[in-house]
């Protein structure tokens, strides 16, 4: 009886709160459409770069693969895989120019000079042992291939902040595509009894870049952004709305009227949490669907894990919101504080560009934020197609920080009940 009544109260509070957003144009804008607005602007500005139109990306290739090196090999190679790799780059429409050496920025004709002049966007160095590594020419004394990785070096122009990320992601996307095809071919050609072993071997490339990250998909900038927007959703629909909800009701007096009814503080909190969570899910849904419809994002959908991640992230976002809502005097104060917190934070969570592009101190700070953990986890799930196992550390972090922040929010809320 009591529980049923409690449910009914929670439902009433949640519904009223939810309608408060749906029927208020400003609230709709800030909680639901503002993040979308961001992604649309940025998506249309940068989104189409990537595999879509690679010709805008100009790569200076330093192919050292032709050089003869000493290996314990008996096979001789006619065509180098390095050349195939460069051809493939051209096939997918990157603008490719060849350089003899990386060189130095002061010497005309070197790759370093060209990138400094802005003639090229990136330099890719193919190592001398590229073909040898990829064709299993390194053998042990039993004549079995030794796992050897060729090491690609990718340099991007750090002065083009967002542009460099697009370039980097596009090239990395290409490389992972290349690797996939290579793996297929290697597996097909391998003798049946060697297949398992080959599988171990065929992870042939490493790439160092500012943030070396090889994804399973050929990524466009927008693919990379869409999972990141879930972090924005937490900030705008979670943290922001949670900060406003109680403060607004307190200013209007509806909060005082609500708590003189026989409702327990837990019931009120639950009601607010439910509506907030619904808002976050709704906002996430809008973002993801817009991403699919507008930019044809190419992502993996592990729905239960995505839902779980958003839920755990919401605990932190709403917890912070409750703290703000409870400690501020009125609606305006709550709003300003929420904005002061969430606007800068959105740049520290790796939503717009990778955290690795930030100064070191900012990276440490960003790594502490639960929102960053959600962004990381969602990128793993949605772009790399990794399973739940891969995101257990992030999820655990989200759970713990969620419990702590939500508990603090609850305490702040209870304290605030003393000064109605």
């Amino acid at each position: 009886m009591k529980i049923k009544r409690g449910f009914n109260q929670v439902a009433a509070i949640a519904k009223t709160d939810f309608l408060g957003v749906l029927r208020n144009k400003t609230a709709i804008f800030f909680t639901l459409l503002f993040p979308l607005f961001f992604i649309v602007i940025i998506g249309f500005t940068f989104g189409q770069s990537g595999t879509g139109d690679m010709s805008r990306i100009s790569i200076g290739v330093v192919n050292l693969d032709g050089e003869l090196i000493a290996v314990n090999a008996t096979n001789s190679v006619n065509s180098t895989i390095g050349d195939t790799f460069v051809e493939a780059l051209q096939t997918v429409n990157f603008t490719v120019s060849n350089y003899g050496e990386y060189g130095d920025p002061e010497t005309n004709g070197t790759a370093a000079y060209a990138i400094r002049q802005g003639n090229i966007d990136a330099i890719l160095i193919i190592p001398a042992n590229f073909t040898e590594s990829l064709s299993f020419q390194y053998l042990d004394n039993m004549s079995m291939p030794i796992p050897t990785r060729a090491h690609l070096e990718l340099f991007v122009d750090p002065t083009q902040t967002t542009g460099s990320v697009i370039t980097q992601q596009s090239i990395l996307g290409f490389i992972s595509g290349f690797v996939k095809q290579y793996q297929q071919i290697a597996m097909q050609q391998a003798p049946a009894d060697m297949k398992a072993y080959i599988e171990v071997l065929t992870d042939p490339l490493t790439v160092t870049t500012q943030d070396a990250e090889i994804t399973g998909n050929e990524l466009q900038w927008i693919d990379y952004m869409v999972p990141g927007t879930l972090g924005l959703v937490l900030l705008w629909s979670g943290l922001n709305h949670a900060s406003m909800t109680i403060a607004t009701e307190r200013t209007k007096g509806t909060f005082q009227r609500m708590v003189i009814a026989p409702v327990s503080p837990t019931t009120v909190l639950l009601g607010k949490f439910v509506s907030n969570l619904a808002l976050v899910y709704m906002s996430a849904f809008i973002m993801l669907v817009s991403g699919i419809l507008m930019f044809q994002v190419n992502l993996y959908w592990d729905i239960p894990v995505i839902l779980l991640g958003i839920f755990l992230g919401s605990l932190s976002a709403i917890g912070i919101g409750l703290i703000i809502s409870s400690l501020t005097k009125n609606e305006e104060a709550a709003n300003s504080i929420a904005v002061i917190i969430s606007v800068p934070l959105q740049f520290f969570i790796g939503a717009f560009f990778p955290l690795t592009m930030m100064p070191e101190a900012a990276q440490y700070f960003g790594e502490l934020l639960p929102f960053t953990k959600l962004v990381d986890a969602m990128k793993d799930i949605m772009t790399k197609n990794l399973g739940f196992d891969a995101v257990v550390p992030e999820m655990t972090y989200l759970l713990i920080s969620g419990i702590i922040l939500f508990a603090l929010g609850t305490i702040a809320y209870r304290v605030s009940l003393k000064r109605l």
């Binding site: 009544r5 009914n8 109260q9 439902a11 009433a12 509070i13 519904k15 009223t16 309608l19 408060g20 029927r23 208020n24 209007k252 007096g253 509806t254 005082q256 009227r257 609500m258 708590v259 003189i260 009814a261 026989p262 409702v263 327990s264 003393k418 109605l420």
Partner: protein, 318 residues
């Protein structure tokens, strides 16, 4: 049986005392008025009774339950109408009532029928019921504001200036509603700073000033406390001394005499009485007999305002 017991309650806001060691008992079915100027502490007192504010010291009981220690039990029995209109302006009247009904545990057909009863009571037409509260007139909002407190049929109702800002027509409509609630046996605390409202509706009035009750009693008892009297002044075309004798002997008349105006020419008959409204027609009829014409009649009543001025030396509205 007492429905409300306020025992030595004090409320301090930092260094200012809003309610000062105040005690008050309200019996079941009684309608008590809290009358006082702005800042007297009326709202603070009702907020403490409703559990919205905690007293700095003292205790408050509603029925057999203590507001501070058994708040849930108390809340079930209370219907609170706040001074300011407190509704969700993006919801319509029905949605607002449904929300508050559900908070008080109403569901299903019970909730529906209570909402319909109270919508009738708010006298909103069907179209208005569907519009958002933000589009309502002040009177409509006031009525919904009150209805929202009555859904769960509370025994004790706290009304904080329910008629503030209403035109006379709406005000009288609301008075009727309050009378109806009273006739249902509800215990009502009505906060106001309008004398006519207190005189019209209340069984007893507590006059508050600076956080204290400075006078308590029925409106009539309070008026009696003041050394002023209700006077009926009748100006006839000719004032005969026999007329004065006749008036003096009428029931309800305490005294009667002839007085001259400032110009010392016109004579007026002055009648002193405790219940001027009741005897006014008789007095006029008595004078108008025997061919005497009545030129003018004037009634000056002692009001609660006079009581307040006498007690504090200040007027209610400043």
């Amino acid at each position: 049986m007492n429905d409300i017991e306020v025992a030595s309650v004090t409320k301090r806001f930092e260094d200012m005392v809003a309610v000062d060691d105040l005690s008050l008992t309200v019996t079941r079915g009684e309608l008590i008025g809290l009358l006082g100027p702005n800042g007297a502490g009326k709202s603070t007192l009702t907020k403490m009774i409703s559990g919205m504010l905690n007293p700095t010291s003292g205790t408050i009981k509603i029925g057999e339950f203590c507001v501070q220690t058994q708040p849930m039990k108390v809340k079930e029995q209370l219907g609170v109408v706040p001074q300011d209109i407190v509704l969700y302006d993006y919801l319509n009247a029905k949605e607002n009532l449904s929300f508050y009904g559900r908070l008080y545990g109403l569901t299903g057909s019970k909730l529906k029928s209570r909402i319909n009863e109270l919508l009738e009571f708010t006298q909103l037409d069907e179209k208005a019921v569907k519009r958002h509260v933000s589009k309502y007139s002040g009177g409509m909002k006031r009525r919904v504001n009150i209805a929202a407190a009555l859904l769960h049929e509370p025994q004790v109702i706290l009304l904080d200036e329910p008629t503030a800002g209403l035109d006379p027509q709406n005000k009288h409509a609301l008075w009727q509603i309050i009378e109806t609630l009273k006739s249902q046996g509800k215990t009502i605390v009505l906060t106001t700073h309008m004398m006519d409202e207190a005189e019209e509706l209340c069984d007893r009035v507590a006059i508050m000033d600076k956080g204290k009750i400075i006078a308590l009693g029925s409106p009539r008892e309070l008026v009696k406390k003041v050394k002023m009297e209700n006077t009926i002044t009748v100006v006839p075309d000719k004032a005969a001394p026999e007329l004065v004798e006749k008036l003096k002997n009428m029931q309800g008349v305490k005294n009667a005499y002839i007085a001259f105006d400032e110009d010392e020419k016109t004579q007026a008959l002055k009648v002193i009485t405790d219940n001027p409204d009741d005897i006014l027609p008789d007095v006029v009829a008595a004078v108008a007999k025997d061919g005497t014409k009545v030129l003018s009649v004037q009634l000056s009543k002692v009001t609660l305002e006079d009581v307040f001025i006498t007690l504090t030396g200040r007027s209610l509205r400043e």
